[in-house]
Amino acid sequence: MKLTIVFGGAKVDNKRLEQFFLTVQKPGRYSGGEMGSIIKDKSKVDVRFAFCFPDTYEIGMSHLGMKILYGLFNEREDIWCERVFAPWMDFEDVMRREDIPLFALESRDPVSEFDFIGFTLQYELSYTNVLNMLDLSGVPLRSADRTDLTPLVVAGGPCACNPEPLADFVDIFFLGEGEEVDLEVIDLYKKYKAEGGNDKREFLKLASQIEGVYVPSLYDVEYGSEGKITKYIPKDGAPAVVHKRIMADMDKSYYPKNFVVPFTEIVHDRAVMEIFRGCIRGCRFCQAGFIYRPVREKSADVINAEAKALCDSTGYDEMSLSSLSTSDYTEIEPLLARMIEWTDEDKISLSLPSLRIDNFSPELLEKMKMIRKSGLTFAPEAGTQRLRDVINKNITEKDIMKSCATAFAGGYTAVKLYFMIGLPTETDEDIIGIAKLGQKIVDLYYNVEGRPKGKGVNVSISVSTFVPKPFTPFQFCPQISKDEMRRRQQLLRDSITTKKISLSWHDSDTSALEGALARGDRRMGEVLLNAFNMGAKMDSWGESFSYDLWMNAFEKAGLSAEFYSNRERAVDEINPWDHLDYGVSKEFLIKEYNLAIEETTTPNCREKCAGCGANKYGKGVCFEKCKNVL
């Protein structure tokens, strides 16, 4: 381990650094050394990659994508990938006061010494943390101000599907799944340096030729008088359209045999097994349901073997299956039957989020008693069937009532329901419908024979604000204003008349900003910079978010949040993400948008292909039927 961190002339040795850890909350966030963390001899590697999660340790360490790439990169002898998280405010104060630069957990070397500084972009409200982490590294924020070849600032993750707000700061974006494209860029970098190359611009040009690589500085953008984009102009041979990458064969894809197992408590502290990518459902508000298309499953054999290996090497006594919708996994029953054999033996509890068990055999259900009872949760998302048809959420009131009745008879007394407010075409009737649905469940409880004796029921309704996202059929829709949101919230509150229903909200102030960042163009870079300079960070943590600060940041940049989030966008308007290809065609999104307005649903990928365009990858659900025919 390196003994001295040198930054701005100040020296903080390891021993002193560790004493500083002890002056703040949760020192385990910064100390490293966890089981499964990977230490290499830095003189023996060619490429050092600082994998940065722009939020706290507890959140970042719970993230599966980071675990996959950390394992994948470190399998290579010539690469050392280390973890970096955003320090909490208390430790940031210490760092700034004592001249401690942002360092990677494994080596404690300053991030600025790395070849790559890579961010994963999971949510828009982490963007100021990206800037703050660069700043804490002592690295110039703007790509244009970092004239040396290294460190190269790269970024991937779901928010990279509209990376424009970060275009000024990031050198390279990876579109889609990173397993292959990240390594291709690292290899290019290795080769480029080996051949004596040292020119950032030249390297970026070469990188832009790799499929899945988007170099924002190689595009000029023109705006019309109304501020709308009129043209994207690729330069220096950069492709006019950049295509996302996907892993074609999930069975052959890398999956970690070990995780870094934290010593301290994190959000999701358990073994996680990915079972498929993508989602067949096509709920029209859900970005994940579109950008990860097509659905590609891992086979039950591979999952079972990898899951067992992972539990053996980590010592975890809890495992969860990860996907966008567990019940849609085609081999779910045989998979569970096999997994239960050894999880039971090894005293491992399986947690299965959002699993429907209606069709399971009685034998399996009996065995599954071992599976920890998670709460009964449903996500109708909207209060009326009409609005559920608009958003293509295929769950009926009958389904919910049926499941609740079974559950109540089986001893459950609590139900959790998730809804969104502000969905396109939403009327007051839809909002009142949320309260009505809750009431029906309460009434149902008291009519179920064999409900738990002498116990009341609790229906908890959790409401978030709908934010239109790129690459969804609702990307054209206006987000409702803050005031209108308040009114609808109040309406819902007034519609609930029983104490048996509890209501909770996700912060609606942040959703206005989230909406603007999600569909923002690259002029938003200045807004981000302004907000950062005014002290914005950790925006997803309610306590540190300031709406007024952000509005000032917009104003100072001569822009308005409303322009990005509150106006209807014509279907032929050029969006900031239209030159990026995530598999689903714009024609398909327009078609789905129109169907939504007509309150018409679209069947899921297994019932009938809706022709979204993602079959061009030649893999996954689009070809399942053919497989059966052959």
Partner: protein, 219 residues
């Protein structure tokens, strides 16, 4: 089921692991080792483990004590084999000293030894430290179990101490520990540093031993 007592050292990255988190860390370690440990009954089964005496966050220890049990079918499991199995899976920062059958109940612990080393740039000196420790009265406020604070006099609590001053200044001190009376050396040292007017005096603490009231080593 047979009770087993594990003695181990805690240092390095484990210094930053709180007592609460240690439970989880050791549970996983035992699971990894595949030693046939006894699990509690019931729906949420977990290995039965207890620690003899909590260690403050930030301290290292050369003598940590944890009890667990072999499961019923493995009452005669070879303790030295178990010792090796656990040693093999220990991360940096946990080092097994020995596995033995417990001799004393952990409630018997009454004293602990600490080794406190001051950072080189600290203005602490052997002279001022010795003068401080020889004061007739050392009044500090201590948080009580109920969450309030009370004034206590540390002077009579200092059982014995030794000061070593060569390259670094080191204090070896024996203090009451355990359920009856427990003195965290931090409150004593912080008081001393406050007395000599040092704001951010850094020092490290290692707990080096646990004893019964009569001075017998806790085993």
């Amino acid at each position: 089921m047979k009770n087993v007592r594990m003695f181990f050292k805690k240092s390095g990255p484990l210094r930053f692991v709180s007592h609460l988190d240690m439970n989880r860390v050791m549970t996983r370690l035992l699971r990894l080792s595949k030693v046939p440990i006894w699990y509690t009954e019931g729906f949420n089964r977990h290995p039965y483990i207890t620690f003899a005496l909590p260690l403050s966050l930030g301290f290292s220890s050369e003598y940590e004590v944890m009890d667990f049990r072999f499961d019923d079918e493995n009452d005669n499991f070879d303790i030295s084999v178990a010792e090796k199995m656990i040693s093999d899976v220990c991360p940096e920062g946990i080092e097994v000293i020995a596995l033995k059958e417990p001799v004393f109940k952990s409630g018997k612990i009454a004293l602990a030894d600490f080794k406190i080393t001051f950072f080189k740039d600290s203005s602490a000196t052997a002279k001022t430290l010795e003068d401080f420790l020889n004061l007739k009265e050392i009044i500090v406020s201590k948080t009580t179990k109920k969450g309030g604070t009370k004034e206590i006099d540390l002077a009579p609590k200092i059982k014995e101490y030794k000061i070593l001053s060569d390259d670094e200044l080191t204090l070896f001190i024996k203090l009451p520990a355990g359920g009856e009376d427990n003195i965290n050396p931090k409150i004593l040292v912080d008081k001393y540093l406050a007395e000599i007017g040092e704001q951010n005096g850094f020092y490290t603490v290692i707990r080096t031993g646990l004893y019964l009231a009569d001075g017998t080593k806790f085993e």
